[in-house]
């Protein structure tokens, strides 16, 4: 991780470059309902320079990117390109203006070669719509040479044969070829799926983009990477820009202070202390994957379940929901024994589970939002066996409104919704059921900060109404912010419990990995 890079030695410092070219966001504010995702952010993204965006999860980085790319419209403020305001109403507008984002998972057509993937939509043709292979070959060879990808991207490879890095290269080529070459290119955590070798190739490319005068925006959590690559580092916290640093003079400590020097995120709602009525009482629960689990959750309490992937958290949730067989142990819900091995009976007893994989385990993607919302409460909405359709519509509409699902109508198919809104439909299903205990497994995975904040609010509301909640999450800041108490699992067992004042990321991680360390130590000793 040397700070030397090919271009630094022979290129002037960023400050010396012309600064009128590039993009600028000015006074950008973005609200999602009551949640303020961005607050009056003004930031220059000069051409020929790499600006890194840093901040914790939920700080507003992806919201800012989405405003740049036309996915969101700002509540207030404007975007300027080369000093002129541009109106970005849609991603197509942004692309036309020359602003491109390279997503972590670019859309690649699997069964066509690289060349056709790059020029999708503007393939060279001969008469009768036949592909002009010679011209395609000429173009891709020229562009690969020009961009310096000739040795890393073979034009005849099929989309399905590409590595993660090569998929990003294809997306970058899309941005840099064709009629309106990109002026601003944003990378959203590009290295999270790349090998070290691929990272080097990507960085070389980004250096080249900078030399060509492109304004590069680089979002990442990786400090070393950013210090090595960026010219300027902008830090967001709770939707506000808290500082811009010169990458050559700042330090890691300085950046960390900027990012976290504050109370827990305001996205989390503080609630009064919980009641002492025990809703869920688990004693010695043992299944194929979890052993001897003891767990109590009170009315109005949010218990966080932390642990590494594979620790058995989701298996515990599925066992409680009646979907995995229980070997031994007892579970009572509101003082009554909870049936096992029968999800329907568990639901009727008052337990709801929003599972980890919402598309695979919860949603009926080709059915309407109304259907998806009412499916677990149909038995309360029927006369004889006929569904009372008016009552069903009213109920679905009520929860869709209350959870602010963004959709023109509850008659749309669920697959048309964004991830965050799909998750809200899953929550609507369980809220409509009015459970005593709600288990949420990774409730905010893969959804944007606006939707996350709304889901945090829903969780707080439910707790206030006396619902007991068990939240499983791999995002520690989220668990620390939400939970009254955190139970940590490791390798199928609970390894500890932390209350709000004891819980820190370090303390949780220590418990989550405690066993690993001891087993590997003993393994090494033997």
């Amino acid at each position: 991780m040397s700070r030397a890079r090919p271009s630094t030695s022979d290129s002037p410092p960023p400050a010396g470059r012309p600064s009128t070219a590039g993009a600028r966001v000015e006074g950008i504010t973005k609200r999602f309902g009551a949640v303020q995702a961005l607050n009056d952010v003004t930031l220059d993204l000069p051409g020929g320079s790499v600006t890194a965006l840093m901040g914790e999860n939920g700080a507003g980085k992806s919201t800012l990117l989405k405003i740049l790319t036309g996915d969101h419209r700002p509540t207030r403020g404007r975007v300027l390109l080369d000093g002129r305001p541009v109106d970005l109403r849609s991603p197509a507008d942004a692309r036309a203006a020359g602003i491109r984002i390279i997503p972590q998972e670019p859309e690649i057509v699997p069964h066509v070669p690289v060349a056709e993937n790059v020029y999708t939509g503007s393939l060279p043709r001969r008469a009768g719509r036949r592909l002009d292979r010679a011209e395609l070959r000429r173009r891709i060879t020229a562009d690969l040479d020009r961009l310096g990808f000739a040795d890393v991207l073979e034009p005849d490879l099929l989309g399905s044969q590409l590595t993660a890095a090569q998929r990003q290269l294809v997306e970058i080529m899309r941005a840099l070829t064709g009629g309106n070459a990109a002026r601003v290119i944003a990378f959203d955590e590009p290295t999270s799926s790349l090998s070290e070798h691929e990272v080097d190739a990507l960085f070389a490319l980004i250096d080249r983009l900078r030399d060509q005068g492109v304004a590069v925006v680089y979002v990442s959590h990786r400090m070393q990477e950013i210090l090595r690559l960026a010219d300027r580092i902008a830090v967001l916290r709770d939707g506000a820009l808290v500082g811009v640093r010169d990458a050559r003079t700042t330090t890691e400590d300085d950046l960390v202070r900027l990012m976290v020097g504050r109370d827990l995120s305001t996205m989390f709602v503080r609630r009064p202390v919980v009641g002492d009525r025990v809703v869920l009482d688990v004693r010695g629960l043992t299944t194929d994957r979890v052993r001897g689990i003891d767990l109590r959750i009170h009315a109005g309490e949010v218990v966080g379940l932390a642990g590494l992937i594979g620790a058995g958290r989701s298996e515990l949730a599925l066992a409680l929901a009646g979907d995995l067989p229980v070997r031994s142990g007892s579970v009572t819900l509101d003082g009554r024994p909870l049936p096992s091995g029968n999800p329907g009976a568990v639901i009727r007893a008052g337990l709801g589970l929003a599972p980890e994989e919402r598309k695979a385990q919860a949603l009926f993607l080709h059915r309407t939002i109304r259907d998806n919302t009412s499916i677990a409460v149909l038995e309360r909405l029927r006369r004889f066996r006929f569904v009372k359709r008016g009552a069903e519509r009213d109920l679905a509409q009520e929860y869709i409104d209350r959870l602010r699902v963004r959709t023109p109508s509850i008659e749309h198919e669920v697959r048309t919704l964004s991830g965050g809104n799909q998750q809200k439909v899953v929550l609507a299903r369980w809220l409509a059921r009015k459970p005593k205990l709600l288990i949420l497994d990774e409730p905010t995975r893969g959804i944007d900060v606006g939707a996350k904040a709304e889901i945090y609010r829903i969780i707080a509301d439910l707790a206030e109404q006396g619902v007991a909640l068990l939240v499983i999450s791999s995002e520690l800041p989220e668990l620390l912010g939400l939970a009254d108490r955190i139970v940590v699992m490791q390798n199928g067992r609970t390894t500890g419990e932390l209350n709000r004042t004891e819980a820190t990321e370090e303390a949780v991680l220590a418990l989550a990995m405690a066993d690993d360390i001891s087993t590997s130590a003993s393994g090494a000793a033997s």
Binding site: P110, E116, T120, N342, H366, A376
Partner: protein, 344 residues
């Protein structure tokens, strides 16, 4: 090489999927039904021009009567497919029911109701057996009912010794079922209408129907939403057995005796073709009775047209096989299935 042959498909695909995503249920289902209506009108026009008698009221009734038994089986096939299953033993089930109805009728001293009750009871049992083999034996539905296709046909032949059984057209009830009319329409067609409307209402208006779509659409999600999916699958196969028995009874009433194989062989292909043409997604969760009935009408009109034109009946088989494949290919294209390896 295949990929190289179709480069323009890339932008086309992208453009086609977008609007479809914006238009919900009505767009997709309505589109399919409009296509079927178009095809039906085309078939009627072509054969109407070729043959003056084709569009006559008498011939329309012939088409309707001939399509009734297929229609009944297609309606329940639709339910099974929506539920994520398949039943290729429906024709054999109808054969067993036909034989049982005639034999029970005879041995109960020409009691039509005894004959029908016995047939329906046997149908229910066969359906329950299919469901139990699939759900509790963990046998893939295609394999389980393929076995049923052979076994139930053999059962019908064993029961009947391979011959037509009994004679029922001396009984007023069977004559009424096979030849009677109500308000100008054949009784058989009325029976199809009643069954189709009942199943349609079941699917669209009751929680049972919602749950059937849910089980076929995503069985894991259905289970976690509290639906007892085993119960639903077994019940759906039992429903198929019962309705296949009704089809078998009608077969007996129409031909005058219990038929182990003639008249029921090959009906599974027609029923599945009609469901697929009618818009059922073969992976489950999607399909409508309306679409299936339109497809039944289309198949019936085509069959009859080919017969009226004196075209070798072997061609009818070719036409039917072609239609089934075309229907499924069209569907897979719509869902954007990746052309890699075996299809889902």
């Amino acid at each position: 090489m295949t990929t190289a042959a179709t480069p323009p498909a890339v932008p086309n695909d992208g453009g086609r999927r977008r609007p479809a995503a914006r238009i919900p249920v009505l767009g997709a289902v309505g589109g399919q039904n409009l296509g079927l209506i178009g095809a039906l009108v085309a078939v009627l026009t072509v054969f109407g021009l070729l043959n003056d008698n084709y569009l006559s009221l008498t011939n329309m009734q012939v088409i309707a009567e001939a399509a009734t038994i297929t229609g009944l089986l297609a309606v329940v096939q639709t339910v099974v497919i929506i539920c994520g299953g398949l039943d290729i033993s429906v024709g054999s089930q109808a054969g067993v029911a036909s034989v049982v109805s005639a034999m029970a009728f005879t041995s109960a001293g020409s009691n039509a109701f005894a004959g029908m009750a016995a047939a329906v009871a046997v149908g229910l049992l066969i359906g329950l057996l299919n469901g139990a083999i699939i759900v509790y034996g963990r046998v893939n539905p295609t394999i389980a009912t393929l076995a049923g296709l052979a076994a139930y046909k053999g059962l019908a032949q064993l029961l009947s010794d391979g011959r037509a059984q009994g004679y029922v057209l001396n009984d007023a009830v069977f004559v009424f079922l096979g030849r009677g009319r109500i308000a100008g329409l054949p009784v058989m067609v009325w029976i199809l209408i009643v069954v189709a409307v009942a199943v349609h209402v079941l699917l669209t208006r009751t929680d049972i129907g919602r749950n059937i779509y849910a089980v076929g659409g995503n069985d894991t999600a259905a289970r976690l939403a509290g639906i007892n999916i085993n119960k639903y699958l077994v019940a759906v196969y039992a429903l198929v057995g019962a309705v296949a028995a009704v089809a078998g009874i009608l077969l007996t009433a129409r031909t005058g005796s219990g038929q182990p194989t003639s008249g029921s062989e090959g009906l599974e292909l027609k029923a599945i073709t009609a469901s697929a043409l009618g818009g059922c997604a073969l992976r489950g969760g999607k399909g409508t009775i309306g679409g299936t009935l339109l497809a039944v009408a289309l198949l019936g009109a085509l069959d009859n047209g080919l017969t009226v034109q004196g075209i070798n009946s072997f061609w009818q088989n070719v036409a039917q096989g072609t239609l089934l494949v075309v229907a499924v290919v069209v569907q897979q294209r719509r869902t954007g299935e990746r052309a890699v390896g075996l299809p889902a």
